[in-house]
Subunit: 356 residues, 2 copies
C-alpha cells in the first residue's frame, strides 16, 4: 500500500474534508507548453507520442513541474480504443483525428471485437505504470476513456463533425446497429479502464465530449445508458483503495439528475452552468468538477483571480469540489495564466474549507 503525499484530489472526489479545493486542468499536458511541443517534435507526431510510454510519461509530468497541480492525467488520446479495434487512426495536419476505415457497413459493425488491453493497448498500460513510477506518489494519476457515444461518433463519422450527419442518420434509421456499436464499445471501455486501474490509475474519468449534441431523449438512450453500463463493470477499488470515477458530458448541464443517477462519484461540468445551481440540483450526493471557461485564461492574472473567486463563492462552503476548466486548456493560453489559475484556486479556496 502506498501513501500519496497529496491526496486532496481523491478526498474531494469522495466528498471528504480537505484543506483547500484541489485543481487540475483538462489537457494540462499540451500545446500551450513549449516543453510539450519540444517532446512532441522529438516523438515525430501526436500519435507517436501517445504510443511511446517514456515520452508520454515525460509530457504527463511537465505541467506538474511548472504548477502545483493536485492531479496528473495520463497523456493519451481518446481514440485509442477504436484504433485498437482496427479502424486505422491517423492525424492529418490541422484537421484533427481521422479514421482510415469509418464504420458504415452492417457487416463491419457486426464484426467489431473488444480489443485486448494487454496486446493492442499495451502501450497505454505501460505508460500508466511508468507515469506512476515517475510520479512517486506526489499526486494521484487519472486514467481516462472517451464515452461509447463519443467514440462511436468518431468511428461512424470517420472524423470530427459539425452536424453528426452519419451517426444521427444511423441513430434514427438503424438504432439497432448503433446500439451494437455502443454495446461493444462500452465493453471495451470497461476492459480498458479496469486495465488502467490495475496498471496504477487512481481515478478514472469518462469524457463524453459529444453527448451534448443529442436530444434529451437520445442522450439517455444512446449516451448515458452506456456510461451506466461502464459504471456497473468498473472496479471501484484496487489494492484496498477507492478508485473514484468522474463522468463528464460537455453540454450536459440540463441532465445532471440523470447523470447522478448513474451512481458516479463525480460529475464534470462545463462553464454554461452555475456550479452553485449544479450543487443544489445534485444535493451534495456527488462531487462536482469544474467549471471555468478556458477562455478566461486568455485574459490577465487579475481577471482570472476574479473569475475563480466567483466559482468558489458559488460552490460555497464545504467539500466535494474539484476545480477545473470546463473544457481542455487552449493551445493559445500563456503558461503564466495557467499558473495564476492554480494559485488563485489554492489561495482563495482555503476559507471555504475552514470549520466553524
Amino acid at each position: 500500500m502506498t501513501r500519496l503525499e497529496n491526496d486532496t484530489f481523491i478526498r474531494a472526489l469522495l466528498r471528504q474534508p480537505v484543506d483547500y479545493t484541489p485543481v487540475w486542468m483538462m489537457r494540462q499536458a499540451g500545446r500551450y507548453l513549449p516543453e510539450y511541443n519540444q517532446t512532441r517534435a522529438r516523438a515525430g507526431d501526436f500519435l507517436a507520442l501517445c504510443k511511446n510510454p517514456a515520452l508520454a510519461t515525460e509530457v504527463t509530468l511537465q505541467p506538474l513541474d511548472r504548477f502545483p497541480l493536485d492531479a496528473a492525467i495520463l497523456f493519451s488520446d481518446i481514440l485509442t480504443i477504436p484504433d485498437a479495434m482496427g479502424l486505422g487512426l491517423y492525424f492529418s495536419t490541422g484537421e484533427g483525428p481521422r479514421f482510415e476505415r469509418p464504420l458504415r457497413e452492417e457487416r463491419e459493425i457486426l464484426s467489431l471485437i473488444v480489443p485486448d488491453p494487454d496486446t493492442h493497448l499495451r502501450y497505454v498500460m505501460d505508460a500508466v505504470t511508468e507515469i506512476r513510477k515517475a510520479l512517486n506518489n506526489r499526486v494521484p494519476l487519472i486514467g481516462f476513456s472517451g464515452s461509447p457515444f463519443t467514440l462511436a461518433c468518431y468511428m461512424v463519422e470517420g472524423a470530427s463533425s459539425s452536424d453528426y450527419r452519419q451517426i444521427k442518420t444511423m441513430l434514427y434509421t438503424r438504432p439497432d446497429l448503433l446500439h451494437h456499436i455502443l454495446d461493444v464499445t462500452a465493453q471495451a471501455v470497461i476492459t480498458y479502464l479496469n486495465a488502467q486501474i490495475e496498471a496504477g490509475a487512481q481515478t478514472v474519468m469518462i469524457f463524453d465530449s459529444w453527448g451534448g449534441a443529442l436530444s434529451h431523449a437520445a442522450y439517455q438512450e444512446f449516451s448515458l445508458r452506456y456510461m451506466n453500463q461502464i459504471l456497473e463493470g468498473l472496479k471501484r477499488e484496487h489494492n484496498g483503495e477507492r478508485i473514484p470515477n468522474i463522468l463528464f458530458t460537455k453540454g450536459g448541464g440540463l441532465w445532471l439528475e440523470s447523470i447522478m443517477a448513474s451512481g458516479c462519484d463525480a460529475i464534470g461540468l462545463d462553464w454554461t452552468i452555475d456550479i452553485g445551481e449544479a450543487r443544489r440540483r445534485t444535493q451534495d450526493k456527488v462531487a462536482l468538477q469544474g467549471n471555468l471557461d478556458p477562455a478566461v485564461l486568455f485574459s490577465s492574472p487579475e481577471a482570472i483571480a476574479a473569475e475563480v473567486g466567483k466559482i468558489l463563492a458559488s460552490y460555497g462552503h464545504g467539500h466535494g469540489h474539484v476545480f477545473n476548466l470546463g473544457h481542455g486548456i487552449s493551445q493559445f493560453t500563456p503558461p503564466e495564466n495557467a499558473k495564476a489559475l492554480v494559485e488563485a484556486v489554492h489561495t482563495q479556496s482555503v476559507r471555504y474549507h475552514q470549520v466553524g
Copy 2:
C-alpha cells in the same frame, strides 16, 4: 387592416386557442431545395440574393409552395447590420461569412454608428414589403435579426469561430469595449426590427446563435442584457395588430427562467431540452417554439412521425406551442422529409387542441 387567411402561428405565439400546432422550419428557404439553388445561381451568390428584393421574395415563398407551412420568414442574412456598419461582409467559398475589417481597435469600436435602416438596409425593407405583397395574407411573415452578442462575435472574430478567442479575450480584459459594441448593436437591432415591422413583418425573432458559448454569468451580462434592451425598444403593436417576438438562444436551455424574465412572447428551444420540462419551468407564461433535432430529417417519414409525436406528447394538451426544428434545416435534407415533418405536425397535433 388586413386579415390573415391563416393566423394559427400568431395565435400560438400569443397563447390563444388554435385548432392544431403551427409549424415552420428555421432556414426553410435554403439549399435543401433545388429551386432555391437555381434562384441563387441566377442571383450570382448568397449576398447578391439577400440584396435583391425580387429574388429574396422568390426564395421566401418557395417552401410555402411546397409545404403547408404556417409562417414565412424573410430571406436575409443575420449579418446585414454589421455589413451596414461598414465592416465589409463577404462570403468565401465553403468558409461561411467573413468581414474584411473585423473590429479590434478601440478607435474603430468607439466610432461605430447605428446604421440608418432607410438607406444602408433599404434592400431588407424592400424585401419585406415585396414579400408581404406576394404572400397576400396567406400566412404571417417573420422578420428577424441576430442578437447583439451573436453579431458582435462575427464583428470581433471576423468570421465564425470555434473557440471565440478574440471576443472572449475582449470580454474578460476589456469588458467596457465589448459593452460599447453591444450597446450600439442593440440600438441598431431595435431600429432595424422596428423598420421591418413598419415594412410589414408580423412577428420578429432574435437569433442568439452563439450566446450558448458563454458562461451562465457572462450570458446574463453580455447577451441577455442586450436582448432585454431590444425588447424595451421594440414595437409590440403595429396598425392595431400585436407583433409577437421570439427569443432564441441556441444552447440556452439552462437559462429559460431568465430569458422568460425579459418579457418576450416566445422562447425558441434547441433539441437538448425536453419541451415538456421547458413548459413546466416556464409555467405557460410564454409560448415555446421547437424543438426537433434537424438531424431527424435525415431519416424516414416513419421515424420523423415518431419523433414529432414524442415532442407533441411531451408538450401535451393546450396552446402556446409553435413546432419548429431546434436549429436550421440542413442542406442535406431530402425535401420529402421536410414535407413529412409538416404533415406529421398538422395531423398529430389536432387532438392536443381539442376541448373537453
